[in-house]
């Protein structure tokens, strides 16, 4: 997790004056706190739990598909009415719009220094905050996406149908996978990624691509191709809050959300980018690795880029190889592996969610609060518009023992949900007798991801 704060901290102003003695910059400057390594006991307990879960799952779990789309505890009428109400959406959209305009003002007119809030909003609130709020509440970005609102507003101004599109859209999640991969690269590899010039180009290109995509393909673009909507929608499947097939609000298990996702084009690369990117973030903080990269004669940006791509590729390749073995064990033709890998890719989403919580919990808690200190002065004029200039981030939720517990538990729970989701999917899509044996390769891969995730946390 250290890469992200390191990136944020690189925006610190240069030391004061020539030959200066250590200069103190504004308290807590920019986030640069990483988590302590996971204690060995926590590592062992979590690893054993993951293995036991996998073993029990293979030998004793249900034999018939069990998750039904009628499951879930119905929310009381008034609560559901509030969730469905128009004003809730309007309020959420207006708030998101205000934050967007506020941030754009800082992006265009703000100072190019560590006092500028834009890096915090982009790398902490938008990326990590969206992940946490989606896992809690569902696909929230769909509701508050300011670009979606801008597109709809422009069409309304032009008095044309909100479904206006020039061409049919047919790439599934591929553009989202590409967008997520690019953003991960920007966040973890790109140099100067917190400088104002860089962020202006980044935001400008993203706005241009999104509006162009929406102009050509209509609002479907946001449903499938927008990386942040994909990030929010896929992680939002883990939310306990969801809509049943008949459209009513229910409380349900994350398994129901994940099981409701059907295989589609680009799902495997999207999941590979989500899982591989978070794993790379943890891995790249490893000191031996950092030493190797910085003392290598090759340009470090090249090495990091290649490694990040290798992490993406590794996840995609291992899950596909597991699918090949699965369909062969089930006695089905090799060609079936391509649809099977897409069928079981959703079961990696809980594992990705567990990784995200484990890696970004303390960053979100601490930096998420810290952003308020900078947002109160968007233009660097010394203003305190929100009265949060002196806010001291509360560190109650990032005590080392608590953080280690949250990390170990989220990884293991992610593994448990992944195994259960893969089991349900395997007995649904494979022949019943072959399903038990057919899911074994998937579980091997999941055990590997989980132990890998724990090892990364143990040796950051």
């Amino acid at each position: 997790m250290a890469s992200l704060p390191a990136a944020l901290a690189s925006a610190l102003p240069p030391a004061l004056g020539p030959g200066s003695v250590p200069a103190v910059v504004p308290a807590h400057g920019v986030g640069s706190r990483g988590d302590l390594p996971l204690p060995f006991t926590a590592l062992v307990i979590a690893a054993v739990a993951a293995l036991v879960i996998s073993f029990v799952a293979i030998s004793t779990l249900w034999r018939e598909p069990r998750l039904r789309d009628t499951d879930g505890v119905l929310l009381p009428g008034p609560v559901a009415a509030v969730l469905d109400s128009r004003w809730l959406r309007v309020v959420a959209r207006v708030l998101a719009g205000i934050v967007t305009v506020w941030t754009l003002a800082a992006l265009v007119f703000g100072p190019d220094s560590a006092r500028n809030p834009v890096p915090q909003v982009v790398y902490v609130w938008l990326w990590v905050g969206l992940a946490f709020s989606s896992m809690l509440l569902g696909p929230v970005w769909r509701v508050i996406n300011p670009l979606r609102a801008l597109h709809a507003g422009l069409l309304r101004l032009a008095r044309v149908s909100p479904d206006l599109a020039a061409l049919p859209y047919r790439w599934g999640l591929w553009p989202a996978a590409l967008g997520l991969g690019t953003f991960t690269w920007v966040e973890l590899v790109a140099e100067d990624n917190t400088s104002l010039g860089f962020l202006r180009v980044l935001v400008g290109v993203f706005f241009a691509v999104s509006l162009l995509g929406a102009a050509v393909f209509g609002r479907t673009w946001f449903d499938h191709a927008d990386p942040f909507e994909a990030w929010s929608r896929l992680l939002g499947l883990l939310s306990p809050l969801g809509r049943r097939h008949d459209g009513r609000w229910v409380l349900r298990t994350p398994l129901h959300g994940v099981n409701g996702l059907r295989g589609q084009r680009g799902l495997v690369p999207t999941v590979a980018v989500m899982l591989g990117g978070t794993a790379y973030d943890g891995f790249s903080a490893n000191l031996s690795w950092a030493t190797f990269v910085q003392s290598s004669p090759l340009p470090s940006a090249l090495l990091r880029t290649a490694t990040l791509l290798a992490f993406f590729g590794f996840v995609a390749l291992t899950i596909w190889l597991a699918s090949v073995v699965s369909v062969r064990l089930a006695g089905e033709p090799f060609s079936r592996s391509f649809s099977f890998v897409s069928d079981i890719a959703p079961s990696l989403i809980p594992i990705a969610g567990g990784y995200v919580i484990a890696h970004y919990w303390s960053l979100w808690v601490y930096q998420g609060q810290f952003a308020w200190r900078l947002l109160t002065d968007p233009l660097g004029t010394g203003a305190d518009l929100l009265g949060t200039a002196d806010l001291t981030p509360n560190d109650l939720l990032i005590q080392p023992t608590l953080v280690a517990t949250i990390q170990a538990v989220s990884i293991v729970v992610g593994h448990l949900l992944g195994v259960l989701a893969a089991h349900e999917r395997a007995i649904t899509v494979l022949d019943r007798r072959a399903a038990v044996i057919g899911q074994v390769p998937l579980m091997v891969v999941m055990v590997f991801y989980t132990l890998g995730g724990l090892t990364i946390l143990f040796a950051p």
Binding site: A9, S32, L43, F458, A459
Partner: protein
């Protein structure tokens, strides 16, 4: 179906072997294991030399109890900026001139100390 019965066991054994391999391949970040750290009371002292892109001693994790101070003496063969994350301390490095940073641990966490030109990680400080 009989042959299949053995598979779950085989999987677990494989995974266990994998786990063992993973953990044994991990460098032990044990307390105080980093070389070059000299302790005097609640003050630790570490001298680091930067030559081009080579950091001596090799980057390692230095444990620092909350309330203790790490005296970090850095000598570089080129002009650079020195930055201790989280301690919010920056200093200018003049080629060949040792620069001392005093880092006092206040909040538990893992903090990087790095230079900017080129970007090198010198060490991490584990405050606990």
């Amino acid at each position: 179906m009989r042959t299949f019965r053995a598979l779950p066991y085989a999987v677990c054994v494989l995974a266990l072997v994998g786990a063992a391999a993973c953990s044994s391949g991990t460098p032990d970040p044990g307390p105080g294991g980093s070389t070059g750290v000299v302790s005097t009371g609640s003050v630790k002292r570490l001298e680091v030399t930067v030559t081009g892109t080579t950091v001596t001693p090799a980057p390692a994790q230095v444990d620092l109890p909350i309330g203790s101070t790490l005296e970090l003496v850095v000598t570089s063969d080129h002009d650079d900026e020195l930055h201790a994350h989280g301690f919010d301390v920056e200093a200018t490095l003049k080629a060949g001139t040792p620069t001392t940073l005093r880092l006092t641990g206040t909040e538990a966490g893992l903090y990087e100390v790095e230079t900017h030109e080129p970007a090198l990680t010198l060490l991490t400080v584990a405050v606990r």
